[in-house]
Symmetry: C2
Subunit: 190 residues, 2 copies
DNA sequence: GCGCTATGTTTGCATAGTGCACGTTTAGCG
DNA sequence: CGCTAAACGTGCACTATGCAAACATAGCGC
């Protein structure tokens, strides 16, 4: 859930938009505002999205915790990773990464394998069970979002999509990298 | 960060929108799609927003943990709460709520007070320090969002705002409740 | 090849977060 | 008054986490 206080308020209708639920020619007005309205709208959307993400995990069979899931996602999205990389990506101490990997391996969601080039490094990668779990949670989020999207006027789908992409780009979201899909499962254990 | 896998991909340009960065007359096309594009865009935006929310906490002096912050927010947004209510709101065990309150009190962020009507109940409410902390984190998020918004074409502010509001409403985001502001600090300890 | 430093992983210790089972105090009710 | 339920708190076990320190290996200069 992770709600957040919403101090400053504002009218719920954008100054430059009609309120009939139709986008219409949304020619920007004089745009004198500093983007405060957008920020508040983003905060609201953020609360909704964060809560949704939390639920999609909480509704799970709970055999995996949120930190464990985050680690799984890192490996799923970036391919087999070293412990230190996972820890860095999650913003935690390497030691935490080590013990996280312990638990994931113990649960059968990931496997350790030594690199043949650097005998210090340990590569962690997902087992089929681990991949399935990540897929499942993502699909649940997608379903939930689909349900919500279906509840809003279809005419808003286009502008929302484009606007969100613009936002995501501005926020630094990497554009559509899916090189992580189909990475070979060649075992380099040795 | 809490990233999420993005299996299915799609072109980054909405089918019905021009790609010049200007909204223009975004009259919805035939809208034959099921909203899949919107869903993917939401997933991407979700990753960005969740990561931002996580950073706004991580960048903190770290004298408070995320669960502790969540508890603070619950009390901040809903006013003085019973331990059981906080626990329910956070989706955790009541016993966890008890110990969470212990730590918040110990850190001087909240205070316990017995209800005079129900001597079983314990009301938790924020100290000025607790309120200040919540404000600080929220402000940090707002600043971050402002920075991002400033990086995107101003012409997109209006459609984004309206579209996000439509989305938040569809997602069940409670519309602008700020009755929690200015709740009196009358001590009912006894 | 031999030190020396940097990197990658792991372990020990302390603290926080969590669920479950159980105990204690109090409310509510017949 | 006795019984049940509600609200907290405690004990136990396990996960999550940071910090410091130990270890193993890599890379580099000589």
């Amino acid at each position: 859930m992770t709600p957040t206080a919403t101090p400053k308020t504002s009218a719920h209708t954008a100054p430059g938009s009609n309120d009939d639920g139709q986008p219409g020619p949304v020619t920007a007005p004089s745009t004198p505002h500093t983007g405060a309205d957008v920020v508040e709208a983003l905060l609201a959307a953020s609360r909704a999205l964060v809560g949704l993400a939390a639920r999609s995990l909480a509704d799970l069979d709970a055999d995996v915790t949120l930190p464990q899931y985050r680690a799984l996602v890192v490996v799923a999205t970036r391919g087999p990773q070293r412990v230190v990389d996972i820890a860095t990506e999650l913003g935690v101490n390497p030691s935490t990464g080590t013990r996280m990997c312990d638990r994931l391996v113990r649960k059968g969601l990931a496997r350790r394998s030594r690199s043949s080039t650097d005998r210090r490094a340990v590569q962690l990668r997902l087992t089929p069970a681990g991949r399935a779990l990540v897929e499942q949670v993502t699909q649940r989020r997608r379903d939930e979002l689909t349900r919500i999207v279906a509840a809003m006027p279809a005419t808003w789908h286009e502008p929302l999509t484009t606007a969100l992409r613009t936002f995501a780009t501005a926020a630094g979201e990497p554009p559509e990298t899916e090189w992580w899909l189909g990475w070979t499962d060649t075992d380099q254990d040795g």
